[in-house]
């Protein structure tokens, strides 16, 4: 497993404590969005489509600390926007480290190399660098040539300075499994601690609305990507959640597991949907109509969602909540998930090389390759 023992132990103890106390709804990860401003303009992103006066707003360190303390989650993910654009991000991170929170600072890494000297390596701090695939795929995905080279330079510098580093990738319709697997080899070769991945979610506010996969296609794609796993690949995610993405187990959405706080307040019901805001975490828990969300609800807005903010929490709770779950989780760290159909896909697909960026104009061909 890519995750350090101290972090695993902290999360396990937290889950068991909540279970023994009979708490029904509790958070595992706070999604703390200190600002929406970003240095990229990705077509698939639904987080930055705001007027300038909203993009200029940002949470103060004190607002961040108050949210973290009220929520009580042992882990804090700091997405955005681009958190490194926040002028007080170092103060925010140091304040969270002082509170012994495990932080995932999600960054496009365009500013990472420049900002690294301001941070101090800690077991509590991980830079989670947005990389959507190999150079051509990443650059095209984030709508910026040269983005991959800058980001990987930042990754190497952070690794060299002793920081914990992961990559995080979002995959959209048309993703080539062979390319993703080659990408895994590349990033593990850079010395990152592990890989984080997710299928794209059809953000209502995203400019692009036509390249988000449904659940059937997500499962096929991730089965192709994650089968026949190489021992060198490490994932900074619950192995049970990865099995969920591959269609090997099923979970119901647990939206309160990874609540979101930003300049608007506590977002209802989750990181992805914006159906109102609460003034406090308590109000969020008590006033959100939770039954209206998740696949089981039939809500069309939840229909294509297999994203970690809803579905990794139940995987983590299962993993730490029972011996059976724990053994399944432990086994998942070492399994290779052999799959002959997936192997056939890799072999039948055209050799992957430095494909032209415009290949994305032919998504149908790549989709046919994901019928594992």
């Amino acid at each position: 497993m890519a995750i350090p023992i101290s972090q695993v132990g902290t999360v396990a103890a937290y889950v068991l404590k909540k279970k023994l106390a009979g708490v029904k709804r509790y958070p595992l990860v706070l999604m703390l969005e200190p600002l929406f401003r970003c240095s990229l303009a990705c077509a698939g992103c639904g987080k930055v489509q705001y007027p300038p006066h909203i993009l200029k707003k940002q949470l103060t360190p004190e607002e961040c600390f108050a949210a973290v303390e009220e929520c009580g989650a042992p882990m804090v993910s700091i997405p955005g926007g681009e958190p490194l654009l926040h002028p007080q991000i170092v103060e925010i991170v140091n304040g969270l480290i002082a509170r012994k929170k495990y932080i995932y600072l999600c960054t496009n890494a365009l500013e990472l190399k420049k900002k690294l000297p301001e941070f101090t390596p800690s077991k509590y701090l991980t830079f989670s660098v947005h990389l959507d695939g190999q150079r051509e795929h990443h650059d095209f995905s984030v709508c910026r040539e040269g983005g991959y080279d800058i980001a990987t330079e930042g990754i190497r510098e952070a690794v060299q300075r002793g920081f914990r580093v992961t990559t995080n990738a979002t995959f959209f319709d048309g993703t080539d499994p062979n390319s993703v697997r080659a990408f895994f080899d590349e990033v593990m070769g850079m010395g990152v601690e592990g890989i984080i991945l997710s299928p794209g979610y059809s953000y209502d506010k995203a400019p692009d609305q036509h390249h988000f996969m449904g659940r059937a296609r997500v499962r096929r794609l991730f089965r192709a990507i994650l089968s026949n796993r190489k021992p060198t690949w490490k994932f900074n995610m619950s192995p049970l959640f990865l099995e969920f993405l591959m269609g090997e187990r099923n979970y119901e959405c647990v939206p309160w597991g990874m609540p979101t706080y930003n300049i608007f307040g506590w977002q209802k019901p989750c990181y992805l949907l914006q159906e109102g805001y609460a003034e406090s975490f308590k109000e969020l828990l008590e006033t959100t109509e939770w039954k209206d969300y998740g696949v089981a609800s039939g809500n069309p807005k939840c229909a294509n969602c297999m994203v970690s903010c809803g579905y990794e929490t139940p995987a983590i709770i299962e993993g730490f909540g029972s011996w059976k779950g724990f053994l399944a989780m432990a086994r998942g760290n070492f399994k290779k998930y052999p799959n002959a159909d997936a192997m056939k896909i890799y072999n039948d697909a055209a050799p992957h090389g430095s494909a032209e960026l415009v290949q994305i104009e032919q998504p149908e061909r790549a989709l046919e390759e994901t019928n594992a």
């Binding site: 007027p51 059809s202 506010k205 400019p207 988000f212 296609r217 696949v295 229909a303 960026l357």
Partner: protein
């Protein structure tokens, strides 16, 4: 979620190949007629989803440029409010539905013209013209 929303069955959800995605109306510049309470509720619902500012004119005559991000829709207009940020005030503000006389979608739709296909077209054109370091830049903040 309101009762009239078309729900999916689990079978439909699990078999979904492509997410339908949201259909965004072209609301920039729209000035809805607010003849009934239902018209007002509908317009404010669209303002909530709009990716730009709107201008609210209150019955007092005051005009407010606002980014609307939250609402409470109660049984009557008197029980209902929207929450918003203005371009100049630092704090969140609220105004009751009953105080609103009109709404105009005056701000720029911040996602318009930024579809994936727009990017692909722009990329291919620039590449053909021999440009390098091609990319989309975020909107300027000033």
């Amino acid at each position: 979620m309101t009762a009239e929303v078309q729900k999916y069955t689990l079978e439909q959800v699990e078999a979904l190949e492509l997410a339908p995605g949201a259909e965004h109306e072209d609301l920039e510049g729209w000035v809805p007629k607010l003849a009934t309470d239902a018209d007002l509720r509908d317009a404010l619902g669209k303002a909530l989803d709009y990716r730009g500012d709107v201008t609210l004119t209150l019955k007092s005559g005051e005009r407010i440029v606002a980014f609307v991000f939250n609402c409470k829709s109660g049984p009557t207009l008197a029980d209902s409010w929207v929450q918003y940020y203005t371009p100049t005030a630092p704090e969140k503000r609220k105004v009751g539905y009953a105080e609103i006389a009109s709404i105009e979608f005056t701000g720029k739709d911040r996602a318009a013209g930024k579809h994936w296909e727009d990017w692909v077209k722009k990329y291919n054109e620039k590449k053909a013209a021999g440009e390098t370091n091609i990319g989309l830049a975020p909107d300027k903040l000033d």
